[in-house]
């Protein structure tokens, strides 16, 4: 059985190791430790424990390849931003979607004709192209545009 120190409990030694005591008390304890083998051993064990954890962790961290971390993060962000479109379009089956797309496109065209007569400048920030219809042996089609210059993109997956 290990004996416990009669003056300081382990919790206090813990605070001492963590530098959480007043400088006065800290000084008293460090003097005590020089003469008390029990507290000395506890201090050593606590420090040893910390060292093991710090070193073992740093060894593992060295094995982590962080080269692609930043790139992966940016890709994930972009993917999540695109997912919005994907979710919307995946919701429709391809055929139904194509019909809806054509109708929407035609509506947009009708609108642009009105626009041309009313407010011309709106054209500048409009999409680069309007998709009237899409057809083919495809399993899915997405139509989207880039944020900045509204460059229109059609993406299809071959069936």
């Amino acid at each position: 059985m290990k004996k416990a120190c009669k003056i300081y409990d382990e919790k206090t030694i813990g605070k001492f190791v963590d530098n959480e005591l007043s400088s006065e008390k800290s000084k008293t304890i460090s003097e005590h430790i020089e003469t008390c083998p029990i507290c000395d051993s506890i201090t050593a064990k606590y420090n040893h424990l910390s060292n093991i954890f710090v070193q073992s962790t740093s060894k593992q961290l060295d094995k982590i390849d962080t080269d692609l971390l930043g790139q992966n993060v940016l890709e994930q962000i972009k993917r999540e931003e695109n997912n919005f479109f994907k979710k919307v379009f995946d919701y429709f089956s391809p055929k139904l979607y194509l019909k809806i797309a054509s109708i929407v496109a035609i509506m947009i065209i009708s609108l642009t004709y009105f626009q041309e007569r009313l407010i011309r400048p709106l054209d500048i920030i409009g999409p680069s192209a309007i998709v009237n219809s899409v057809d083919g042996n495809v399993s899915s089609v997405m139509i989207f545009e880039t944020k900045k210059s509204k460059h229109t993109i059609i993406w299809f997956s071959e069936a």
Binding site: K15, K45, S56, Q60, T66, L69, N72, V73, L74, I77
Partner: protein, 191 residues
């Protein structure tokens, strides 16, 4: 004075991040990835997972940077998000019954045997490796509330007050949890 300069840089970085500048985001990632990985690894004890977690943290930072209050301190904020992500991550695994099956680096056990064969002072080396393994294994078994405190104290070197603030607990609780952690861990390597 140095911290002042750091602050200015941090403020500048944050405002660039808020403007959505991509390269500012790269700087952020480079600057903080190691710190966050350390926390994530300390809590999960899994390399792959901690990498995924940190990646997730940066993604949510990107989403939420607009809501970040400049006065809160960037590293503290990042640390908080990381801790939360880790804890939620663990819950995610627990639901899939994966966490409980996870053992600490089984590959290291082979190394351990090798170390025994060709180490300089085989007995000591073996014993040290074994202690390390035991400690890490038992850190993994610590209740998460206690583990997080131990990680922030030991790996991050945060003061009791800082830990208390991060975890929304009292200073006394920090001290008790640390004591508890140390007691359990020392118990586990007692011969």
């Amino acid at each position: 004075m140095a911290s002042n300069i750091d602050n200015i840089e941090e403020n500048d970085l944050v405002s660039r991040l808020k403007q959505g500048q991509e390269w500012a985001f790269n700087i952020l990632v480079n600057k903080y990835q190691n710190m966050l990985l350390k926390i994530a690894y300390g809590i999960t004890l899994d390399r792959e997972e901690s990498l995924e977690i940190v990646q997730d943290v940066f993604v949510s930072v990107h989403k939420n940077i607009k809501n970040f209050r400049q006065d809160a301190g960037l590293s503290g904020w990042l640390r908080k998000i990381t801790i939360n992500t880790c804890l939620n991550w663990k819950r995610k695994w627990e639901r899939r019954f994966r966490w409980s099956h996870q053992s600490i680096e089984p590959k290291d056990e082979n190394k351990l045997l090798r170390a025994k064969k060709d180490g300089n002072n085989p007995e000591t080396l073996y014993r040290e490796k074994q202690i390390e393994l035991l400690v890490m294994e038992n850190i993994g078994k610590l209740p998460e509330k206690i583990r997080v405190v131990f990680v922030l104290n030991t790996l991050e070197g945060l003061s009791y007050d800082e830990i208390a603030q991060h975890m929304n607990i009292k200073r006394g609780t920090v001290s008790s949890r640390l004591h508890h952690a140390r007691k359990i861990l020392l118990e586990s390597i007692k011969d």
